[in-house]
Homo-oligomer: 316 residues x 4
């Protein structure tokens, strides 16, 4: 590790990932470097070349970022320590002086195009779309004269000497992307009362009711899921792992007991971290699944068993 | 407590309860005293007048003994420390010299009559049945000449100077009664690998899905129920508590975690004991709910949390 | 069947069963006859000697009447067509002129004694209790001078020439007994919007999760249970059938589909009737389980399947 | 509709989609036309310009094809009538005479690159990867000299005048892609005994247990899921619809009742078809959820209700 904190992000400069990273206090005093893809960013952390990586995780229109899910689900274990949610607004960037009627080609990352499809069909029905590695790369290609316009965040315009031809060109207002800051494994940050926990669950065998069992382990302990995504394990069609976000922090008794239960019934539970929620929402905790309720139950059970030794207060 | 162990049982002498008590090693060196009813026997334990009480709990034909369930579910807490299962065989006892055609009246405890109903209808269609407090009391009444015959265990005949007019008069062969030995609360006997745990569950409020929730708490932890009986709480029709037997011992992780969960979701969990099963059957434990699995999961969770303190091995 | 309707009840005259029967309009123009026990009353219906039988079903303090449950669960099928709920109040009846200090013996049906136990312990601590076949029989025995006092409904006093020594001697006020009117099988009475359905469920095999499965079949269709009682099947300890009351009427789609599902998964579903609730309460029906919702879903499914034939409106 | 059947597929010619389409008997006598993207192919069907569209649905390594899922989940209803599963093998295609050391740039559809990542890292560590709209488009660009090599099916080589530089360059052997043939809504093809049903489920409201409820509706009726994918509804992070494949055919009782139940509890159930499985596997049907069991239950219920009208045999 370098003496200065080094954080990497899904580049190039000017991406939403960079914008997301810059909202985190830790970025203020760190060296920020773009890397060309998610795998490279995560590998930099794994290999100790970076202290953290900021990568996109899911989008409210496009869904999960499969690459991120799959890279986190395999290889050396990494840990999510923070999340950032950005409102996604797209602008149409072009070289200064370009008029909209002159736009024949538009480029962007493949994730951006579907989010602006209706706007493009209406305003640029004859323009051809070309994929780029990233929206920033598309902007660079506009600068280089390779294409006429790029879909990107308006904040990328000055970086590439471009003008904003049209702003808010996304079809759906309010689209959001969730980014995660990933580090090497370490004890999770302390609970804030508004936390989220992320795990990847691999079934012990491929039996039909496995997902129902998994959901039941969460539900009986009052742990609400906020995201569940199935991903192929690569072992053939019909074989999936589950990427899951739930409310709460691993240090809380109901979450800890649920994770322990999953550890018992799954082939593998890959713990990807407990961290503060970007939306600040406190999850709903039923009185019967509060830490106090677990503590009281543990004391009661200890009495039944005739234990005289001191008891820990968690319910796991 | 007296210097000699004093055990009481549902009397009078000659009942199946006495026969059941005498199968227990503890009875060999104890003073055995009959008491007239279940409440009296349990109260003698509560008040310290006796060290244990042997009372009937359920019968494979007649069902639970409501009085026993209700007496154990209220009042000062008591604890089941052993169970005895007896094969129930009834004989028709009469004064020596009586011929069956001369039997005009038959008496027994109200629980015995239904178990011999078909035999009575066929062999003594015109005899009148009269209730007695117990089968032994019926035998005493035969001795006293108040009735002609009694339904009772054949072993009661010599005690009352009676003869066995007909043996095995029960309609269903193989009927069994389960008896329990009840003491004041104490740490339960150690697990034997073939144990049973008894609790009474009071719902927190009267919502329709309460029983489903209760069963789910057992099921997700792989704890099989062997008996579930609803009993009115006395608060009105439709208000029930549940008397439950499950496989396993409170010291086992899966049972402990299930009881703790019920303690959280129920208004009250009344623990009535963990004790060796009379049938010697080892409950089926899924690998994912073994003590080893719980222990491994607890160690894993501890690692996730970054705990450095030593961890207990149970899953509660 | 006789030209006049003949209804029988658990006698003798003066029982709560008679009082319950007399609350039903059908009793106004019928011949009412007591029979000595529940089995006799039900057999009279089975054999065509009576058109209906009124028998006790459960008590809010004492619980289910096992004999009634068991007699309905076996033998020729019978059907519950009405229920009556009576508030149970006990009086202490004695011969006129008797003072309470002179009462040495008290008699009643064994179900009555526990409901007055505390009153007896306080007011007649030295009196001996004797069982009778019924509270009315106890009153008759008082009249005959065989015992000093009887626990019975105050309404029984004039019938046996007795006085009320003390009224409301029950320990718990508000105790209720539910009685059922039983007939031979016939199409159930039409739904009233406040109905109850009674079934007996026999598991297909004795697997640990059977009861959970049964409850789930009700729960997924939004059918609330109001009573669940396990009864031994007679096949050995640990083998039970379940006597169940649920909200709603067999003609309603959600109830019909739930019963059909149970018919598929159980060894036997013994349908004991759908009938109007005595308490007049309308069960809570979620919008998603209303008859309208089932009808709409059936029409939708029919469209998916490309059915052109007319569809029935129920969801079974 | 044209007089000749016209089928479209995800082009350009030489894609796996074309190869998949050509395995279907219906393709033998139809006009086959490539379209540039999934949306265009599906819209051609919607607008009546084509009779069917063959598009990729999911891949055993890369997961679902989000575009296909999303296009089928919105807009005018379409229907899956067949599926095709292809083993995916990639070759490295180049202009004849090219040696591997001369390859500086490799292009493919973004889905192909991750499936060959390790091979590329080992054999072409310095080559730059460029995205193309499709693997065939990449081959065309090789032909045009814009890039040096393409990842594509070996069958695409002759079409673009290319040679196979290396075959089987995929990292994981046995990767499969499932394609679906989509038509306008019509009664589904008859059941074959090895069928699959696809639906999209929209929750009625965003409550934590919604997915558990959905899975329970399938599970209680013995309907196994073979795929469950969450997709954002676009209404914000945390709001999902579920794309589900289950075993069985809508004409089967257990599937029909499950779909009807979901229709009652979900905001919308979008039925995308029942069709023969490509793997020919017969789903496991428990005896209690066979069509016979449903039929028998329906007849039984009809008898309970006193229905005299004829009954349909389905369980819905």
């Amino acid at each position: 590790m370098t003496s200065t904190t080094r954080l990497v992000y899904l580049g190039p400069p000017g991406t939403f990932s960079e914008a997301a990273l810059m909202t985190l206090p830790i970025a203020d005093r760190a060296q920020l470097d773009p890397l060309p893809n998610v795998a490279a960013a995560l590998d930099a952390v794994r290999q100790g070349d970076a202290d953290g990586a900021l990568v996109p995780f899911e989008n409210s229109v496009e869904g999960s970022v499969s690459t991120t899910l799959d890279e986190l689900a395999s290889g050396d274990l990494l840990q999510v320590t923070a999340e950032v949610v950005l409102l996604i607004r797209f602008a149409l960037l072009a070289r200064p002086g370009t008029v909209i009627d002159a736009v024949r080609t538009v480029s962007s990352h493949p994730h951006a195009q579907p989010q602006c499809r209706r706007w493009l069909a209406k305003n640029l029905p004859d323009a051809r779309w070309e994929p780029s590695f990233s929206n920033s790369e598309a902007a660079r290609r506009v600068q280089a004269g390779e294409v006429d316009a790029a879909l990107a965040g308006a904040f990328a315009a000055p970086r590439y000497g471009l003008s904003v031809l049209a702003d808010d060109v996304q079809d759906v207002d309010g689209a959001q992307t969730r980014f995660v800051l990933v580090t090497r494994p370490a004890p999770p940050p302390p609970p804030t009362g508004s936390d989220r926990t992320t795990v990847v669950l691999f079934e012990r065998d491929d039996h039909p009711g496995a997902l129902l069992e998994i959901l039941t382990e969460f539900a009986v302990r009052g742990v609400n899921l906020t995201r569940l995504e199935s991903r192929p394990t690569g072992a053939g069609l019909g074989r999936y792992s589950f990427s899951v976000d739930c409310e709460g922090h691993v240090s809380e008794a109901r979450v800890g007991e649920a994770l322990s239960a999953l550890h018992r019934v799954c082939a593998e539970v890959r713990f990807l971290g407990s961290y503060s929620r970007a939306d600040g929402r406190a999850g709903v905790v039923r009185p019967s699944t509060s830490d106090d309720a677990f503590h009281e139950a543990a004391v009661w059970l200890s009495g039944l068993r005739g234990d005289t030794r001191a008891r820990s207060t968690d319910g796991s």
